[in-house]
């Protein structure tokens, strides 16, 4: 121990003597031969003492000697390998390399002191290396021993590479042809091209790329071009796709095992270009058939195959869209011809099936690809918006959808659970989002909602509110404000009516009066031009009292009575008592018979006189009463009397008059009203935009208008143009004198 302490002190050392003693151990270490522990320690100390020798340390000479020793060693290896025939070269190189690599790392440890005290002190800083353009080299003694060893092997390998690399590539090609090779040996050989320059961060992959990767890419292209041609000629397309997928997968695994990870994608791209991109037109051709026959496996394969190509899916998406469109057209072809209620059902069911089916495609076949999802949406919205009602110009979808929702929200004999209803309504919103003419839907929905509310046939107010809030979240507050107003009105009326009844004493009127007070403008109702018949006295009195009550309560509000929309619940006393819900006019008709002796008949003319309505209207009211048997007509049809034998199983009856046959006219009115609304909306949008921008180019204005209107409907450019022109005429806007397409706002 004391001796060891003593030797730690710097003292004079004879360099040559010491080196000669060293070099034998160094040689053994480099060749990975066994070295006794004492020898190792001894050598380590010798190196130490050389490095700290007095008066001058021998670091410099030691480094130079190690350098030339390694060079001689590598030179010898090269000479030996030069003698080895090609067949054995890979194996021989691999052996030498492994030994050298391991030996070098041992040597590195042996010369630790030199590394730390000589090399590391000379090394430039990281910053200088990165940005200062400085490099490390053997000459400057700035490579540590392991790095030095690698650098020297690198110089040797440069000379060997022209022989070695073709052998490497030949092995890879053999493997591609299905011959099994020694993968781990090959991989280690390939890795040596990276390892030898690994110490130099700046060019660590350059040698590998130049010597191996570039050659391999060229070889890959050539190999798979030939392979692709051969395969394509021999196999049907769908089989070709399968095989290529397999080829690519296998080759990917192979490359993963053999190459540096950075090359794997490059090789794959090269292979894909030859195997897929070159055949893309043919593949897309085949895709037409796959899509038509709905061969999902083939489609999934093709999707996977073309996935990584830029725009590789474009054609497939187009075909997918077209297929959905034609499937949609087929599915909905019959919708136009059935009667409205069934048509609505068919329409929604058809669309739901379409969506389910193709959504499954997107999920399964197309791997939930976002672009395919968008294609599905695009195609479905095309299907929805191009559905025309038997050649009529207006698209029928909004109305059908509104009708379907109406059917859902009505009380029905079929028991529907709340969750089921909720789900169906959500589906409707899904379809609603595809509808372009949202304003048309709005009108129809409003009309149907008003019927449901006034006749009190809603499934439940929760369901109604739920639907309104769904529409609100889809389209915004403004879209549903009228619906909400309507809903609100009905609720308010409820409390008002009971309030009114309380104020006047429940029995004072002899009847119970329920008045809907509806906000004008929010409801699709209009006071009819033909005056309504005089109300029978109990009703008349109620109406007058309510009018007084209401105008007292709300100063300055005006009530317009729409009796035609009213209904009456009447008690009919036959052999037993029935309660019947009838229209207001019908109630008046029935009251005419009230005080007559049982056998008396009334003529149509009498009735028309008493009620004061036209003949057509009279018939409309009478028909259901006669049909259900409450009234009976004589043979001529001119004389009516009460059917004393009336009998029905149910004690509650609904005998409302059939809706007026103005459907056709009504449709036209709705259509023209929508056009008017759109014009106003467009003009308002234009003025809003121009007020903000002051000056705008025509096309940008059109674009901005489109952005604002698309949530409601999709206007034609021509319509926007007309609106701009009418605004110019009204002098809200001016066309710029100098520039034809510039428009400015006259603020």
């Amino acid at each position: 121990r004391s001796k060891a302490m003593c030797t730690l002190k710097p003292h004079q050392v004879d360099f040559d003597l010491a080196w000669n003693k060293l070099v034998r151990t160094v040689d053994r270490v480099l060749q990975c031969e066994d070295v006794a522990k004492e020898t190792w320690t001894d050598t380590f100390f010798t190196i130490y003492s050389l490095c700290v020798a007095a008066p001058e340390p021998h670091c410099g000479s030691l480094y130079t000697h190690v350098n030339s020793f390694l060079q001689q060693h590598c030179q010898a290896v090269l000479q030996r390998l030069d003698q080895v025939p090609d067949v054995e070269l890979l194996a021989a190189y691999h052996r030498s390399w492994r030994t050298y690599y391991d030996g070098s790392s041992y040597l590195h440890r042996l010369f630790r002191y030199l590394n730390v005290h000589h090399v590391q002190k000379k090394q430039p800083s990281d910053a200088d290396l990165c940005y200062g353009g400085m490099t490390r080299s053997a000459d400057a003694h700035t490579l540590e021993v392991f790095e030095l060893a690698m650098d020297i092997w690198y110089r040797m390998l440069q000379q060997l590479a022209p022989r070695l690399c073709p052998l490497v590539l030949a092995q890879i090609e053999l493997s591609r042809r299905g011959v099994s090779i020694d993968g781990s040996r090959l991989s280690s050989v390939v890795q040596s091209f990276v390892d030898v320059v690994h110490w130099d961060r700046k060019r660590c992959l350059t040698f590998y790329t130049e010597q191996i990767e570039q050659l391999l890419l060229a070889q890959t292209a050539e190999f798979y071009a030939a392979e692709g041609d051969a395969l394509f000629a021999r196999q049907p397309v769908h089989r070709y796709i399968e095989l290529v997928l397999q080829l690519l997968r296998e080759d990917g695994e192979r490359m993963q095992a053999l190459l540096h990870p950075s090359s794997v994608d490059k090789v794959r791209q090269e292979a894909e270009q030859k195997l897929v991109e070159n055949f893309l037109p043919q593949l897309n051709q085949a895709a037409v058939g796959f899509v038509e026959q709905e061969e999902s496996t083939n489609l999934a394969n093709l999707f996977q195959l073309t996935r990584s190509l830029p725009e590789g899916h474009k054609e497939l998406r187009r075909l997918f869209e077209a297929h959905i469109c034609s499937a949609g057209e087929q599915a909905l072809a019959t919708v136009g011809s059935s009667e409205p209620a069934a048509a609505a059902q068919e329409f929604v069911d058809g669309l739901r099936q379409l969506h389910e089916k193709f959504k499954a495609w997107v999920r399964g076949t197309f791997n939930d690809d976002a672009q395919f999802d968008r294609s599905l949406d695009l195609a479905l919205s095309k299907v929805v918006n191009q559905l025309d009602a038997a050649g009529k110009k207006q698209c029928k979808s909004p109305e059908l959808l509104a009708r379907y929702v109406d059917a859902m929200l009505r009380k029905s004999s079929k028991a529907v659970s709340d969750s089921e209803l909720e789900e169906k309504l959500s589906q409707c919103i899904g379809i609603f989002k595809y509808v372009e003419d949202k304003d048309v839907f709005q009108r129809h929905y409003q009309r149907l909602l008003s019927k449901r509310l006034i006749l009190g046939v809603s499934h439940s107010s929760e369901a109604e509110e739920g639907m309104i809030s769904k529409l609100k979240s889809a389209c915004g507050y403004e879209f549903t404000s009228k619906f909400q107003r309507m809903f609100h009105d009905v609720r308010l009326s409820e409390s008002q009516s009971s309030d009114f009844a309380d104020a006047h004493g429940r029995d004072a009127l002899g009847i119970s009066l329920h008045v809907f007070v509806l906000t004008q403008g929010a409801w699709p109702l209009q006071a009819s031009n033909t005056p309504f018949p005089r109300l029978p006295s109990p009703l008349e009195r109620g109406v007058t009292l309510f009018q007084r009550y209401y105008t007292n309560k709300f100063q300055g509000r005006r009530l317009t009575w729409l009796h035609a929309h009213g209904t009456a619940d009447m008690k009919l006393k036959f052999s037993r008592t029935y309660s019947a819900t009838v229209g207001a006019a019908q109630a008046i008709l029935l009251l005419q018979f009230n005080d007559l002796p049982a056998s008396r008949t009334l003529s149509l003319a009498d009735l028309a006189n008493a009620v004061g309505v036209g003949e057509a209207e009279l018939q409309r009211c009478l028909a259901p009463l006669i049909d259900c048997g409450i009234l009976q007509a004589d043979a001529t049809g001119q004389q009516l009397h009460v059917n004393q034998e009336f009998h029905s199983k149910r004690s509650r009856l609904r005998v409302l008059p059939a809706p007026a046959k103005e459907a056709e006219k009504e449709q036209e009115r709705v259509a023209s009203q929508i056009q008017e609304d759109r014009k106003f909306f467009l003009q308002a949008a234009i003025v809003r935009i121009m007020k903000d921008r002051k000056r705008l180019n025509f096309n940008s204005l059109t674009q901005l208008v489109l952005v604002q209107t698309t949530p409601r409907f999709k206007p034609e450019v021509k319509m926007i143009k007309t609106c701009i022109e009418s605004l110019i005429e009204k002098e809200y806007l001016t066309r710029s004198q100098a520039k034809l397409d510039e428009i400015s706002y006259n603020g």
């Binding site: 025509f698 096309n699 143009k721 022109e725 005429e729 066309r735």
Partner: protein, 230 residues
């Protein structure tokens, strides 16, 4: 004013005949007809329109004293021009506008090309107001077509080839319009200048008034139809 009107145009007592009773006096319809007769011009001659334009007349078939004086000044006529003098000046003016196409004579005071273009544009725009019935915003279609037919006679680069088709199309009622807005009127000149004789320079995406869009569409359809028939 009656006597003054006499002096303005001694060959014509139009001032008196027009509205002698109520000041301010002006030359009425009869007076204008008389004036035209004296000038040897049809009332629907382009030169009469030119005179009205130079007078900045506000209404058809009527001149106020101030208007007529302004017109005479513009034509560099004396305070009391003669019918012959006025006629000669109008001829010269038309020649200046059209480069002598109409009369075959070159006028002494040729205007700069740019100036006549500006002048014609002014004439064109003024014509809309001239034809407009008071209180209206749009020009009635028959009036518009008549004015279009007339005003282009004074166009420096000649009557545009498209004009005939335009007028025929408008008169056929296919356009479905009853009146022409100022914007459309003004833009039509730009349209004629830009798209020239054929419609190849026309771009549907530009901001042309929709009436012009419709016309071009109809014309293209007709052209295609002709091609098919051949």
């Amino acid at each position: 004013f009656a006597s003054y009107a006499f002096e303005v145009d001694p060959t014509d007592d139009n001032g008196a005949s027009a509205g002698a009773s109520t000041p301010p006096l002006r030359i009425g319809a009869g007076g204008v007809a008389h004036l035209c007769r004296d000038l040897g011009l049809d009332p629907v001659d382009i030169r009469v329109l030119l005179l009205a334009w130079l007078c900045r007349a506000r209404e058809m078939c009527a001149f106020t004293e101030a208007e007529l004086r302004r017109g005479c000044a513009a034509l560099r006529q004396a305070e009391a021009p003669t019918a012959d003098g006025l006629r000669a000046a109008l001829d010269a003016r038309l020649d200046a506008m059209t480069g002598g196409r109409a009369g075959g004579r070159m006028s002494g005071d040729m205007l700069d090309v740019k100036d006549i273009d500006v002048a014609f544009k002014d004439l064109y725009r003024w014509a809309f107001d001239f034809g407009l019935e008071s209180g209206q915003r749009t020009l009635q279609l028959p009036m518009a077509t008549d004015l279009w037919a007339l005003v282009f006679e004074a166009r420096p680069s000649g009557v545009p080839p498209l004009l005939g088709a335009w007028l025929t199309w408008l008169q056929s009622g296919a356009s479905g319009v009853k009146g022409v807005s100022r914007d459309t009127w003004n833009m039509f000149l730009t349209f004629i200048d830009t798209c020239g004789s054929d419609l190849s320079a026309y771009d549907h995406n530009e901001a042309w008034p929709s009436l012009i869009d419709d016309f071009v569409e109809a014309e293209t359809d007709r052209a295609n139809q002709n091609l098919l028939n051949c």
